[in-house]
């Protein structure tokens, strides 16, 4: 495995935290030096450790007629790692321990499921675990062998048949393989050929050898399976997030368009009012009155100024109303300027007050002026609370989509690198 694998795996993990276990498994599978693992599973006192010792030919595992300590112990023998798992009984350890062991059982290439013949049928827990292992076998091609131990403790062959048949009825997918570690040991040590043969150990050896031979293919299968599942999950997630992103973007655009449109209408109305106002007033500059005409002109100019002032304030109130309705202006206190009459957004865009008709003309009636207002109010709209929140949502969605795309790319890197 090349060294781009791990960083790529982290990219995938950040998007699919639930796949931590599978990614760890892929790493193990991709690790070239990973020996085949055989784990012996079963209730305590059913002869797991004795069996292991006989299979290996050494007294490597502790044996006692009681429940032994709760550690996972292992040994490497002839290129295979043998694991002795503690009993699968409920009173063993904490939930965390159970999960750890279950992972170990699940992850071994070959599971030797052990059950003492003297106990008769499988109990509920054993049945459940065997069913789980079987499901796992079907999915990942890891293998399970069901071993019936301590058959020397049965009265006779007939009893063995009875037990074996009962078990076959309970777990139809599993063939029980009867063994007796005691017989085997006696056969080996005492040179007793019948005991050796009836121990079932040589036959089990042969089965195991064949099973070990099938491991590379099984691992390949599992690798492809996991990559396939992860890819599918990422693709589905991508489609989903992309759809969400698109919807958010549409909403964002729609709101912006609605605001702009509404503003345009308000500005048009205001422009209309101001246009009328300007048309009704005579054009003229204020000048020093020297004649009666000029005095009249002065009055007229004063009137015009007054009306323009009124017209401008009306326009501001209209615009203020529209902006308030769209949440552009906050609540009064935050917005008021020292003048106390116009809020800060209005001042920022419009200036403090307008006295001259030229200015009014430029601001409200010329295209450039209108566009400027449109643009600037739109800016303040975009920084209002709700808009900022929506923009953040869109940004988050974009980040999420990007992360998934990156994870998919990382996945390809991982597959290539193993």
């Amino acid at each position: 495995m090349n060294d781009r694998w791990k960083p790529a795996a982290r990219d995938v993990l950040s998007v699919l935290p639930g796949r931590a276990h599978d990614l760890a498994r892929l790493q193990v599978l991709g690790d070239g030096g990973h020996l085949p693992i055989v784990t012996v599973i079963g209730k305590y006192n059913h002869g797991k450790s004795r069996l292991l010792n006989e299979l290996i030919g050494q007294d490597a595992f502790a044996v006692a007629d009681r429940r032994e300590t709760v550690r996972l112990s292992d040994i490497v023998h002839q290129g295979v790692r043998w694991l002795d798992a503690p009993g699968l009984d409920a009173d063993v350890g904490t939930e965390d321990d159970r999960h750890a062991w279950q992972a170990a059982w699940l992850e071994s290439d070959i599971r030797l499921f052990v059950h003492a013949a003297k106990e008769g049928e499988l109990d509920a827990r054993e049945r459940a675990l065997l069913a789980e292992l079987h499901e796992d076998s079907v999915r990942t091609h890891r293998q399970t062998l069901l071993v019936l131990t301590q058959v020397d403790q049965l009265a006779d062959e007939a009893e063995l048949d009875k037990v074996a048949n009962a078990i076959r009825a309970q777990a139809s997918h599993a063939t029980p393989h009867p063994v007796s570690s005691t017989r085997y040991r006696a056969g080996v040590e005492g040179g007793k050929k019948l005991m050796l043969e009836k121990s079932g150990i040589p036959a089990l050896h042969a089965l195991l050898d064949a099973a070990v031979g099938r491991i590379p293919a099984a691992r390949q299968h599992e690798t492809a399976l996991l990559y396939g599942e992860i890819r599918a999950e990422l693709q589905a997630l991508l489609a989903d997030r992309q759809a969400s992103l698109d919807a958010l973007r549409r909403q964002h655009q729609q709101e912006r368009d609605n605001f702009a449109q509404g503003l345009r209408a308000v500005l048009a109305k205001v422009a209309g009012d101001i246009d009328e106002l300007l048309k009704a007033s005579p054009v003229g500059d204020a000048q020093r009155p020297e004649t009666a005409d000029q005095i009249y002109a002065l009055t007229a100019a004063k009137m015009e100024r007054a009306r323009i002032q009124i017209g401008y304030s009306r326009a501001c109130i209209e615009i203020d109303a529209y902006l308030a309705g769209h949440g552009v202006l906050g609540l009064p206190d935050a917005q008021k300027t020292a003048a106390g009459s116009l809020n800060s957004v209005m001042v920022a865009v419009m200036g403090v007050s307008v006295k001259h008709r030229d200015r009014l003309q430029r601001i409200f009636l010329e295209a450039a002026g209108v566009e400027r207002m449109q643009r600037e109010f739109a800016h303040y709209y975009e920084v209002s609370e709700d808009r900022v929140a929506l923009a953040a949502q869109v940004a988050d969605a974009e980040v999420a989509v990007k992360a998934i795309a990156q994870a998919l790319s990382a996945l390809r890197t991982m597959e290539a690198g193993t």
Partner: protein, 537 residues
Amino acid sequence: MSDMSATNGQSDSERKFIAEVDEFQFLAQDLEHILQRLGSWLEQLNGDLQTQRLGAAGLKPTHPLRQQADAVNTAVQTGMRAWSEQWAHLQPAQLLADAFDDKALLLVFGKFNAGKSSFCNFLADRFALHGKTVQYFHLDAGYIVDTAERFQEGSTETTARLQGVTLGEKLVLLDTPGLHSVTPENAVLTQRFTDSADGVLWLTSSASPGQVQELDELARELHRHKPLLPVVTRSDMYEEDEIDGEIKKFLRNKTPQNRALQEADVQARALEKLAAMDVDVHQLKAPVSVSVYMAREGEGDSHQTRAALEAAGFARLYDALLAITEPALAYKRRKAGEILLHHLQENVLGALDTNVSPLLAELHASVQTALLRLEQQQERIVTLAWRGVVPTLPALLEKHAAAHDVQAACDEIAVSSLIAVTDAARAQLADYEIGLDATLARIRLDGEAGFEDIVVEADGQLQVAGVDYQRLHAALEKAIHRNLLRLSAQVAEQCKAALEGLHQQVTDMQASLHVRANALLELQQELRAQHAAGAMA
């Protein structure tokens, strides 16, 4: 069963045990006082629960917190009904109580392959050998039926029935279907059978001894303070040898060292399990190991029987049985008290603990969350109402400009503010019962703001250029804001009051449950202390 002459073939332990069994005394004991106090405890609890029903005033039925409160009330009502029914079911089964009032009943408990039947049959045979009466019986359609049939040995899980055997005058072994074999039909009867036992023999096969998760099924009996003796059965094994081209088997007892190892292991893990179940570890007696098969093998020769019994573990078993009968009889004396106490602990308090307390805790947390949220909701109402009212100002001001009618404008705005807040409150605080006080919707302006005639001087005359209301507009906005704040606060206050009221009720209920729990603990101590195991007279 052969007709054997007495003493040679019997062990001392066995003789002693069988003799002492017939000497059991069953003293009545006055439990009236404690029973009464336990009864009052329950009355007090029931009363508290009734008066403390959660009210949830101010919250509509759709409000999640009201629904949570309703769930609590329902759980309490359900619980109260349930524990009444359970108590009715617990009344000692007449059939067994009357028949066995003067006998010590030991429940023989264990998985189907633990060898219960052979164990019981063997003990029955031994009693018979000592000249004692032995009577097998079983339950048929709810009646005790005597029978000459022994227990079926080697049966599978499926053939199981409630059965027992009386050994002598004073001892009864009760056998129930193996674990996991109780059907819905016989569950009630099985429970009654189990109820009537004074102590428990837990039989567990030597092949995998001490699967302590089995003890979960005994939880009720153990919580009633019955003693427990683990018996490791089938403590034997085959040895094989190849002889003349055949494999020959010999059955023998497991060694004393082997047995000691298993017994120590079973004891250690059983203690752990009992502690985890919150059962007094003193109820556990030291395990023993037996092999019925090996004991029977030695029966052929009267000389060997005693040695065989001992080697098969029965001497120790008899001593252990004697040791367990004392606490079993002590239990029997306290029985009525233990049964009521346990009912209150488990069916009443236990049920409340499981079904009601978590709901209360959740509700408590939910109320806190809702209170925090209320602040945000209050702000949001003001914002939404603001957005609703301010856009109406231009048209409104224009309407009243000519007449300079500030008051009319204010009145209209007051109305629209009220409507706006009502709408916003309905959206934000939909599930609360709120009433808006219309008198609070006032628009009071600062200072003298009003419609201003803009006057221009011309020729010494004043001409009106027009009406300006910019300052009025600004003043109105301030006033509207104040108004909205006031209205929103009023609404929020009502919600807060509702939430705080509920909060108080919840904490009250939690406190009173706590008090009841402590009181019951005291009663338990009293029961066990006053009526502790006395000597058998």
